[in-house]
Symmetry: C2
Subunit: 133 residues, 2 copies
């Protein structure tokens, strides 16, 4: 099992965007992005905090998860796109998913980070010998 | 807004553990860990994949989220504990949450990583002047 975890921290997002405060708007944005990226949703959950708070949500994927949190009172949004590469290399799909969620927020600044969640005990790629014990 | 994101990738987990395959067992483990860490759940969602697959789940928190994925066929589990520090420094709670989820899986190897999700545009701590423009 190896996996890639992409994060984006958005700043300077307009507080009036529906997806900053409304669970249905954020849900539609997320599910559309998942479909466009060619990933498979298996469940989703969104929660709205009392004003002036924002919305928090997760889409469970066959390939792992998407999580989004908004803070309209700070103009801030965080996005996590975590996909495993168990049956295919989904890295490109994770990148498309992240960008499809990030773009509609119109952020002034975006801090992107990438974590390899690869296994230290992962087997070598097919066709390559195991390292000596 | 600043936040800390802790991850743990577990390897060599016994495939027969109930939390590796059963949504209710994983749900109970997660919600217990959230309570013990002093964090507040606002929603939770778990999904079981067809055998030999595992369980995937997320707990939405007032402070952000916990996500867990299991691959019993590989003896692998991933855990994400993401907490914002908007109203208090929740870093210690995130560390307790992560360890409370990790420990019951009895992993042979654990790869831990830590991401700062701090804002590049975050205001300075109270009492310190803003930097010159």
């Amino acid at each position: 099992m190896n996996a890639v975890h992409l994060t984006a921290d958005l700043h300077g997002c307009p507080a009036g965007l529906p997806a900053m405060r409304d669970t249905e708007a954020l849900r539609e944005l997320c599910l559309h992005a998942v479909r466009e990226a060619g990933l498979q949703a298996v469940g989703e959950l969104f929660h709205r905090f009392p004003a002036p708070g924002g919305v928090t949500g997760a889409v469970l994927l066959a390939e792992s998860h998407l999580a989004v949190h908004t803070w309209p009172e700070h103009g801030t949004v965080t996005v996590d796109a975590f996909v495993c590469n168990a049956s295919a290399d989904n890295t490109g799909r994770a990148e498309r998913l992240l960008e499809a969620v990030v773009a509609p927020f119109g952020a002034a600044q975006v801090l992107r980070q990438r974590l390899s969640r690869s296994s230290p005990a992962a087997p070598p790629p097919a066709g390559q010998p195991h390292p000596p014990a």
